[in-house]
């Protein structure tokens, strides 16, 4: 097999075309701007009634949450049959604080970017939703989520990933998410994310010293739809706060830019090396032939 100059160009052209096509389709999920739906959680207003838990269970046809408030004595996490939980923490002065945990619905969700089949996907309207009919069950979304939200039905032979879907169907009908609809204390405010950030900051500024001066979710993981303001450490309220400010997909995008280059550069380079090694063999062979002929001549 010999490769002429034209052969090189052909290989280079074909691979460059393939690489171009691949990189063109490798569009990353982008933050959809700031005009997405959001919820502001004000932990100083939450009374721990867990009506949100009950409403969530009813809306998603999940088992009803335990009736007794004793469950809050322990730190709880969401589960395959539990999309939201309220956790309890005590401040130094003895006041009690509560915080609800559920999917944060990131603007650029790690889980959706991790899904190889787009079973987990962010809808244009904002919610991050899951379609079990596409899912192969790799559980990479669980690895990807910095808040440890997606949960898995390990006990089923056809398991699903389970998490809060932000009541996407209710929102499409113009309704509030079920949990925010029933909240009696004003701890949950549903609205446009940009306005909620203003609201959160206004509460912080107009009540000096009351809140920790930070809107959790404004920048965390590149920004989330659910936002928290609080006067205790959210870590104590069972939220994962060691989240990078960079959005998760951007951590991978650099490495994912490499394949087009590999596809473009490797084949001509390797074929070049092959051509050189062939040529070396031919030259050596000719030299031997010449030596033989010389001897005969």
């Amino acid at each position: 097999m010999r490769i002429g100059r034209r052969g090189f160009f052909k290989i280079a052209a074909v691979t460059a075309g393939a690489a171009g096509a691949a990189s063109a389709s490798a569009a990353l999920p982008h933050a959809e701007g700031t005009d997405t739906p959001g919820v502001l959680v004000d932990t100083t207003l939450c009374v721990g009634c867990r009506a949100c838990e009950a409403a969530c269970a009813e809306k998603n046809a999940l088992p009803a949450p335990p009736a007794s408030d004793d469950v809050m004595k322990q730190r709880r996490d969401t589960a395959p049959q539990v999309f939201t939980v309220v956790n309890r923490a005590e401040k130094e002065d003895g006041t009690v604080r509560f915080a609800k945990k559920q999917c944060m619905h990131c603007l650029a969700p790690g889980c959706a970017s991790a899904c190889p089949v787009r079973a987990m996907d962010k809808t244009p309207a904002g919610p991050v939703v899951y379609d079990p009919s596409k899912c192969m069950g790799c559980r990479y979304c669980m690895i990807a989520c910095p808040f440890d939200v997606p949960k898995y039905e390990y006990d089923s032979w056809k398991p699903r990933v389970r998490k809060c879907g932000f009541c996407a169907d209710r929102q499409a009908k113009g309704l509030k998410p079920a949990c925010t609809e029933v909240c009696p204390s004003g701890a949950l405010t549903f609205g446009h994310r940009a306005e909620l950030i203003e609201l959160a900051k206004t509460r912080i500024y107009t009540n000096p010293g009351k809140y920790v001066p930070h809107v959790f979710g404004e920048h965390e993981a590149g920004g989330t739809s659910w936002l928290y303001i609080t006067d205790v450490d959210l870590e104590k309220l069972a939220l994962r706060t060691d989240v990078p400010e960079k959005d998760i997909p951007s951590l991978v995008s650099g490495a994912l830019g490499a394949p087009p280059f590999v596809m473009t550069l490797w084949p001509p380079l390797l074929m070049g090396l092959y051509a050189f090694s062939r040529r070396r063999d031919t030259v050596e062979g000719d030299a031997q032939e010449n030596a033989k002929e010389d001897r005969h001549g």
């Binding site: 991790a114 990479y140 898995y152 090396l273």
Partner: protein
């Protein structure tokens, strides 16, 4: 006259099954020849392991694994997928050496390396199917393009490269079947296939590392680095070289009768591979150090995880690198083989560390694989070894079929 001709034909073309499958023995002789202690051990493993694998598909992952909400990936990903694929890197490493770089001296170890790679990939895919919650949906990867996912790249590389390996493997298969025409077609395609194998392996080996890029808060800082995909690629080359040395050592012992009479100086090849191993391993060692510097992770070296990290990069990278260098320089084949065994262990250790030990290091509940998971992993390795032996005993893997030998092609 006619019957004599028929008799001659039978003698010239004896039964296909008997010659090709039963190694020229009758069924009874063949079964008797299989009754060896090694086969008894293998049979025992399969008798336990295969039912567990079947049970996993009936009862689900919860009944058979120790996976949990905080540990979604366990031994089947960490060992069967991550490690299996890395150890299969000999296929493209030696393929490129022989076919593309023109180092024909390594030709005798090319086929076993490609066979190992092929079986490694097939076993990794079976392990993956066991691990996937909804394995029947694996076809979804062909129709849905989650292009922002490193796992999407992994999935496509697995599909493409397993196909390439299968095509490369057809060369000895067609020799075995005596199909000359197809054989010459595939043999001519080998250059192109080797280019593809290097291309897909580059992407695949590194993409397995890229999988962890999105978990900076979950993977321990000593192992997390934005360059982890480079580390995975370089260490896969180490795995490939080391595996080829170990495997040629084992197969030239186990299949002594097959290589008898061949004039292949396996010691010389081992020394040459050792030199390459030393080079790549030193480079890898300094890259790993650079990862620590870049991640400002020096402080962690004084912790328990730091000690474990040092065991990995000094005990299983620096030491074998020195052994490779010393052994290949002084013609000490045994030393090079010891280094290669350590090289293989080094990659197993690294992949298990990244995907299991150092993953979710800050979580209160730690993952420890269940007995079933361990047995299934052992079962898959056993099936791979049995398949390797079955093929080597029948097909021209360690030697070329003299009817097809045409010297350098």
């Amino acid at each position: 006259m006619a019957s004599a001709q028929a008799g001659a034909a039978v003698a010239a073309h004896p039964s296909f099954v008997r010659e090709k499958i039963l190694l020229g023995m009758s069924v009874r002789e063949y079964v008797r020849s299989c009754c060896t202690p090694a086969n008894a051990v293998a049979a025992a493993i399969l008798v336990v392991g295969v039912p567990i694998l079947v049970y996993r598909f009936i009862a689900g992952l919860g009944a058979t694994t120790a996976l949990s909400q905080t540990a979604p990936w366990g031994l089947w990903i960490g060992f069967d997928m991550m490690t299996g694929i890395a150890l299969a890197a000999g296929g493209f490493t030696i393929g490129a050496t022989v076919q593309l770089f023109g180092l024909k001296a390594y030709h005798p170890i090319e086929r076993p390396a490609i066979l190992t790679a092929f079986l490694g990939y097939v076993m990794a895919v079976i392990g993956l199917l066991a691990d996937l919650g909804r394995p029947w949906n694996i076809v979804m990867a062909i129709f849905n393009y989650g292009t922002a996912s490193a796992l999407f790249e992994v999935a496509w590389c697995v599909m493409c490269y397993t196909t390439v390996l299968l095509l490369e493997f057809t060369v000895p298969v067609f020799e075995w079947l005596g199909w000359k025409k197809l054989h010459s077609v595939m043999r001519n395609a080998l250059i192109g296939l080797t280019v593809l194998s290097v291309m897909f392996s580059t992407m695949h080996q590194s993409a397995l590392g890229s999988l962890f890029l999105l978990a900076p808060t979950k993977l321990h800082p000593l192992w997390y680095t934005p360059y982890i995909f480079v580390f995975f690629f370089i260490s896969a080359i180490i795995a490939g070289i080391s595996m080829v040395i170990v495997e040629s050592m084992l197969s030239h012992r186990a299949f002594h009768s097959q290589v008898a009479g061949q004039h292949v100086d396996i010691d010389k090849l081992t020394l040459g591979l050792g030199k390459a191993g030393a080079l790549v391993m030193f480079a890898y060692f300094f890259l790993k150090l650079q990862g620590v510097i870049d991640g400002h992770a020096w402080g962690y070296l004084a912790t328990g995880y730091g000690a474990w990290f040092l065991v990995e990069i000094v005990g299983f990278v620096l030491v074998p690198a020195l052994l490779f260098a010393y052994g290949s320089r002084n013609g000490n084949v045994t030393l090079v083989r010891v280094a290669a065994v350590m090289g293989v262990l080094s990659i197993i250790l690294n992949r298990l560390n990244v995907s299991i030990v150092a993953f979710n290091w800050n979580q209160p509940v730690r993952y420890v694989p269940s007995v079933s998971e361990v047995i299934v992993s052992i079962t898959l390795v056993t099936i791979g070894v049995l398949a390797f032996r079955w093929i080597v005993n029948r097909m021209p893997i360690l030697r070329e079929d003299p009817r097809f030998a045409e010297g350098h092609h």
